[in-house]
C-alpha cells in the first residue's frame, strides 16, 4: 500500500566500552552501515531524526555524514529516545512528507549507576540528598511488590538473566558474552533486594541506525522489507507506578507500557497472540517479567511457568530478547530502543546468525520503558 512504511536498512555499532570513540562517531558509523545495507547514499535521505541522552546532539553528525541540507530533528526523551525518533520518522513517511528517512540512536555513559539530578525531573534536591534518586530502587520495589502479588520466584528472576547472557554469547555485537548459571546470578552481590548484580544491566555505549522508506521506494530498496505496522508512544497516567515518584496514588492505573502496547497492537490490527518474537525492556530481570504481562504477551502471574518452562528462550514458543537485551548488551540510553527494532528486523529477515530463532518468524514486537514513565512499542512484520 502507498502508506506502508518499512525498514530497508540496518546498521549497528557494537555495544560495550569503546575508549577513544565518541558517541557521535558511533552514531555516524551505525548510520553509514544502515545506508550501505539499504544500498543508498546519505544524500538519498530526505528526513532524519535521532538522539542520545548523554553523548550530544544527533544532528551534528551531518558534519561527518555530509552537509546535504536534510531536515534532522534531535530527540532527547530518556529511554524512549529511539522510540520517539521512530515515531517521528514513521509519521513523516506515512504522511508522504518524506520518502526515505534515517533514524539514529547512540550513547556513551560513564561506569556505575546513572546519577540524574532531581531538579531536571521536577523534584527538589532533597530527593537526591535523602538517597531516593536511583532507578535501581524503583525497579527493585516494583518487582518486590509484584512477586508478592503474582507469585514470581527469585529463580525466575535469575533465569531471565541467564537467558540474556546465553543469547549475548551468540551475539557478536553484545557486550556481556559469557554465559552465567542461575546459581552464579543468584549468589552475586546484592544491589537492591531482591535484585543482584547480574540481574541488572549496566550503563554502556553503542549506536544503532535504521533506514526507512515508504510506498514504491520500499520495493526499490529492499529485497525483504520489514514493515513497521505501528509505533505507539505514551507517557504515564494518574495512578500508575513509575520511576522517580516521591509518592504514588492509592488509586491505580495501567502503566505507560500497557497503554503504548495496546495502542501499537490496535493500530497494527495484530494481537499479542500473533507475536513470534519479542524484544522487551530488561534494564533488570524483574522488568522483563513485568513488561511481558503489561504488554499483553502473557497474563499477570503466568510468567512464572512461562519462563521456568523455557518458553522465552531462543527455541521456545515466544523467544524474548534474542540479542541478549539490555542485560547482555548494556544500556546506552539513546541506542537501546532502536537496538530492539534492529534485532527484530534481523530475526524476521532470517539474518540473526548464531542466535536465529529456529521457528519461522513473521511478526515481531518491541517495547522500551524509561523515566519518568514513558514507553514506546512497535509491531513489525514480513
Amino acid at each position: 500500500m502507498s502508506d506502508d512504511v518499512a525498514i530497508v536498512g540496518l546498521g549497528i555499532h557494537p555495544f560495550g566500552r569503546h575508549d577513544g570513540v565518541s558517541g557521535l562517531e558511533m552514531g555516524a558509523i551505525a548510520a553509514r552501515r544502515a545506508l550501505a545495507n539499504a544500498g543508498i547514499a546519505w544524500n538519498d535521505v530526505d528526513f532524519a531524526a535521532g538522539g542520545s541522552d548523554a553523548a550530544g546532539n544527533a544532528d551534528t553528525s551531518v558534519s561527518m555524514l555530509g552537509l546535504t541540507g536534510v531536515p534532522f530533528i534531535n530527540v532527547k526523551n530518556g529511554c524512549a529516545t529511539g522510540g520517539s525518533a521512530l515515531t517521528t520518522a514513521h509519521a513523516m513517511l506515512a504522511s508522504g512528507a518524506a520518502e526515505v528517512a534515517l533514524v539514529v540512536g547512540f550513547d556513551k555513559h560513564p561506569r556505575g549507576a546513572f546519577n540524574p539530578l532531581p531538579e531536571e525531573w521536577g523534584i527538589g534536591s532533597w530527593y537526591g540528598e535523602t538517597g531516593l534518586m536511583l532507578t535501581t530502587q524503583f525497579f527493585a520495589m516494583k518487582i518486590q511488590r509484584y512477586m508478592a502479588e503474582h507469585g514470581i520466584s527469585e529463580s525466575t528472576l535469575a533465569k531471565v538473566a541467564a537467558k540474556a547472557f546465553a543469547n549475548g554469547a551468540r551475539n557478536p555485537d553484545a557486550w556481556r558474552r559469557t554465559p552465567l548459571s542461575e546459581q552464579e546470578i543468584l549468589s552475586s552481590r546484592m544491589v537492591n533486594n531482591p535484585l543482584t548484580q547480574y540481574m541488572f544491566c549496566s550503563p554502556g555505549e553503542g549506536a544503532v541506525a535504521l533506514v526507512l522508506a515508504r510506498g514504491p521506494r520500499i520495493k526499490e530498496l529492499a529485497r525483504e522489507p520489514v514493515y513497521l505496522r505501528s509505533v505507539a508512544f505514551r507517557t504515564r497516567r494518574f495512578g500508575s507506578f513509575e520511576v522517580f515518584a516521591p509518592s504514588i496514588p492509592i488509586e491505580s492505573a495501567p502503566s505507560a507500557t500497557t497503554e503504548a502496547a495496546a495502542a501499537a497492537f490496535e493500530e497494527a490490527g495484530i494481537g499479542p497472540g500473533d507475536v513470534d518474537v519479542a524484544q522487551i525492556q530488561d534494564t533488570e530481570s524483574g522488568a522483563e517479567v513485568m513488561h511481558l504481562a503489561e504488554t499483553g504477551l502473557c497474563e499477570h502471574g503466568e510468567q512464572e511457568s512461562l519462563i521456568q518452562s523455557g518458553a522465552t528462550e531462543l527455541d521456545g514458543r515466544l523467544p524474548v530478547n534474542t540479542d541478549g537485551g539490555c542485560l547482555a548488551c548494556g544500556e546506552p540510553i539513546g541506542a537501546s530502543g532502536l537496538r530492539q527494532v534492529h534485532e527484530i528486523a534481523l530475526q524476521l529477515r532470517g539474518e540473526a546468525g548464531d542466535r536465529q530463532v529456529p521457528k519461522e518468524c513473521r511478526v515481531g514486537f518491541t517495547q522500551v520503558y524509561g523515566a519518568p514513565g514513558v514507553s514506546a512499542c512497535t509491531v513489525l512484520t514480513v
Binding site: A113, L117, G124, G128, E129, Q144, N192, N193, P194, I250
Partner: protein, 143 residues
C-alpha cells in the same frame, strides 16, 4: 517539645509539626480530594488549581521495600553521605485514604521488613549533613 523551626530541615516545604511529632506536608485538591506529596500547585488527577496544603497521616503500612546496598553517586547524594555510606532501607508507605509516600526506612535488615507491616513517620539526620533532618519511616514497636 521543640518545633521543627528550631532544627534545620532538608526542605521546610516538606516537613512541618514538631521535632517530636513531625508531619509531612502534601497538598489536597478541593475539587476531587486527591492527596499528593510533596505539595504541588495543581491536581495531577483532575488538573484543578484549587489545591491547599495538607498534613499527611503519620502512620501507615509498608507497601513495598528494598535495601539500597551501594552508595549513591554525589551529586545528587551529598559527598559526606557517600563517604559514610551504610546500606539503608527504602520503601513506599501507604497512608490510609491518602497516598503512598516514598521514604527511607530506619530498618535496613531485609529479614525484618515485610509488606503490610505498620510504620510511622520519624526524622533522621541527612546523610553527610548531620545538622539537618530529613524524613523516614520506622517500624511501629509492638505495644
Amino acid at each position: 517539645m521543640t518545633d521543627t523551626h528550631s532544627i534545620q530541615l532538608i526542605d521546610s516545604e516538606l516537613i512541618g509539626g514538631t521535632e517530636d511529632e513531625p508531619r509531612l506536608i502534601g497538598s489536597q485538591c478541593e475539587r476531587c480530594g486527591t492527596v499528593t506529596f510533596p505539595r504541588q500547585r495543581s491536581c495531577p488527577r483532575c488538573t484543578s488549581e484549587d489545591v491547599h496544603p495538607h498534613e499527611l497521616a503519620t502512620r501507615g503500612a509498608l507497601w513495598t521495600w528494598t535495601i539500597q546496598c551501594f552508595a549513591p553517586k554525589a551529586p545528587p547524594y551529598l559527598e559526606g553521605g557517600a563517604r559514610e555510606f551504610e546500606p539503608y532501607g527504602v520503601g513506599y508507605i501507604e497512608l490510609p485514604g491518602e497516598v503512598r509516600v516514598e521514604a527511607r526506612l530506619t530498618e535496613s535488615d531485609p529479614g525484618r521488613l515485610r509488606i503490610g507491616m505498620p510504620m510511622e513517620l520519624t526524622l533522621i539526620p541527612v546523610p553527610g549533613a548531620s545538622d539537618k533532618r530529613t524524613f523516614a519511616f520506622r517500624p511501629v514497636e509492638d505495644q
